[in-house]
Symmetry: C2
Subunit: 367 residues, 2 copies
């Protein structure tokens, strides 16, 4: 199983042709990774119907040649001397050789200042902004991509299993987050998918809780939201616990979120409007005593980027397709009291879904 670079490129070229465009200028590091297998910095990509170019400089030349020129991908790597050639000049040289005139550029991934300096150096070309062109393509994952997320999710599952017995009275959020991050990397994760969210007690209600020195106390709600990275692809999972025995309100929160997530998962299949998956969870949350504390939005696409298309909320016009990989993460957040969220990563299949995260949804943990 290999990344399908040829197919990715063919799809993009077809769309360029259909739009009457000669070339696409790529500025997004995520899209350079997707299309060129390039994981470094300070590089710019150009795709035409016959050519594939990566402009970088001496600092990343060796890495670019290693990553972008091999049996799977045949990029022409251009090493620019930044003291002698502007980026506009380097781009102009490629486009002139290619006789390209109608140029799309990733307007979402380049700053106004940088684009002004490039465009000023290329007055004879006709530019059109490309909006979410590769992002739309990236929504459907190939088998290799799904496998990377599956492996990242498996690492997260294992790391959580190592962490759980360490949740003891008095440990701090920060200690536990550090231990989780350490274990994921020891198990092969390339860094972490994002800054681990780990909150005890009332702090579990903060959607982006940054781990603090707060010690774990008996009866605390505990939220842990984290992920691993494999070959640039991310996982993203949340589990929620209670330290010791749950009281009636905590148990009702857990049961509500669990039922909401189960309903959303059960609804999933290719062809389903994403807003209906959101509504399946929403129906249960909104019928509960916690309706006014329900989180907004059901989940998001997942891949090279942590939050990518499609975004699944009530106002989303997306229809789910086979091999989308998305999170399903309903939650309840009661300010000053605590929060509870369950999040899994799933691949959409023609009839249902495949769950990529497998950690058990236990609630009570002995501390």
């Amino acid at each position: 199983m290999k990344p399908q670079f040829e197919q990715r490129l063919a799809t993009l070229r077809k769309r360029l042709l259909e739009s009457g465009q000669d070339a696409l200028l790529i500025f997004s590091p995520d899209n350079l990774r997707y299309l060129f297998n390039y994981s470094g910095e300070a590089a710019y990509g150009i795709v035409t119907q016959t050519g594939l170019y990566l402009i970088t400089d001496y600092r990343f030349l060796e890495q670019a040649q290693h990553e972008c020129v091999n049996e799977q991908i045949a990029t022409e790597v251009i090493c620019r001397d930044r003291d002698r050639q502007t980026l506009a000049q380097a781009i102009a040289a490629v486009l002139s050789d290619e006789r390209a005139l109608h140029i799309m550029y990733e307007a979402e991934h380049i700053s106004v200042a940088m684009w002004q300096s490039i465009a000023a150096g290329l007055p004879e070309l006709l530019f059109t902004p490309a909006l979410a062109m590769l992002e739309a393509q990236r929504k459907i994952k190939d088998e290799w991509e799904v496998e990377q997320i599956r492996q990242a999710a498996a690492i997260a599952d294992q790391a959580l299993a190592i962490l759980l017995p360490q949740l003891k009275l008095g440990v701090s959020e920060r200690e536990m987050a550090l231990e989780l991050d350490y274990q994921m990397q020891r198990l092969g994760s390339e860094g972490v998918s994002f800054t681990t969210i780990l909150g005890f007690g009332a702090r579990s209600a903060l959607p982006h809780c940054i781990p603090s020195a707060r010690p774990l106390q008996q009866g605390d709600l505990i939220v842990i939201d984290f992920g691993a990275v494999v070959n640039g692809y991310r996982s993203d999972m949340t589990r929620s616990f209670v330290a010791g025995k749950a009281d009636a309100r905590q148990q009702a929160m857990f049961d509500t979120v669990h039922a909401a997530q189960s309903a959303a998962l059960a609804s999933l299949h290719a062809g389903l409007p994403a807003s209906e998956a959101d509504a399946a969870a929403g129906a249960i949350l909104n019928a509960s005593e916690f309706a006014s504390y329900a989180g907004k939005g059901l989940g998001h696409g997942l891949g090279i980027k942590l939050h990518e298309q499609p975004f699944m909320g009530p106002h989303c016009h997306e229809v789910l397709q086979a091999n989308y990989v998305v999170t399903v993460e309903p939650g309840i957040y009661i300010p000053g009291y605590g929060g509870l969220r369950l999040e899994d990563d799933v691949r959409i299949t023609p009839q249902a879904y495949e769950c990529l995260t497998h950690a058990a949804k236990i609630f009570e943990v002995e501390i």
Copy 2:
């Protein structure tokens, strides 16, 4: 000792006034941290002569109120409902209340696509791009900022001291990088300053070596480039070692880089053109047998961002000023053989410099 938010704001307002501008739109997360004490995401700042506004949404409201509204800083935090109000509308509401017409915006920190959507919603305003406006101001650090970098550097010093005895025959680059990252965070670092560079043998010549499974062997050159983060401020230090006894060539490399760094450090003082500090190191590198393998550029500013103004290279027109904090990092990189770099963080003083990194520059380590 506290961050000097009032003074930062006064300096910016004075410059706005001098340029005849009524407001600055701030899009850079680093600049929001510098001016508003805000460390979250999804926020936009507006500064006028009398007002200070942060526009965010419900996800970051609590964090923004906590960080940006206190005895040191009195921001008006605006919680935008993204389903009902565009960013342009939220900005328009503030600027209209403030009767602001001439608006600067951070053109280096907003995408073409996003700026087009904002500007289209504000047709009556007159926009001017602000280029490196706050970045220029951030070059001079206040005492509190220097203290954060000093603490980050101290954490890095301690973590390296813990790591060195673990450099043993057969350990991998990845294991050692993970251990270093773990120790820094255990000692209080907020994550790591950047992805730790740690290379053995020929891989030490890669300027951005990503730690691999390569095991440590007798006689290997070892390069370790890493840093800690305290209150958002970063350190950045490199030490180079040889596993066991250095041979003549390795010792000559070390002596050359050490002499080049010493010469550059000895030249430092407020009023010195940065290119002359670069030349002080360059004179020694270029007179050595390793001239053709010398790295380009002496160092860079350091603060909220890892690489920030001033950049110290041969073509740099910067004159060093008191309380600039910069790296001094000459190196030799021999492809296929190995590299060697020494890097310290220093604060420029009126007469000389204060070194913030203190790890000993030993070369031979027993493995």
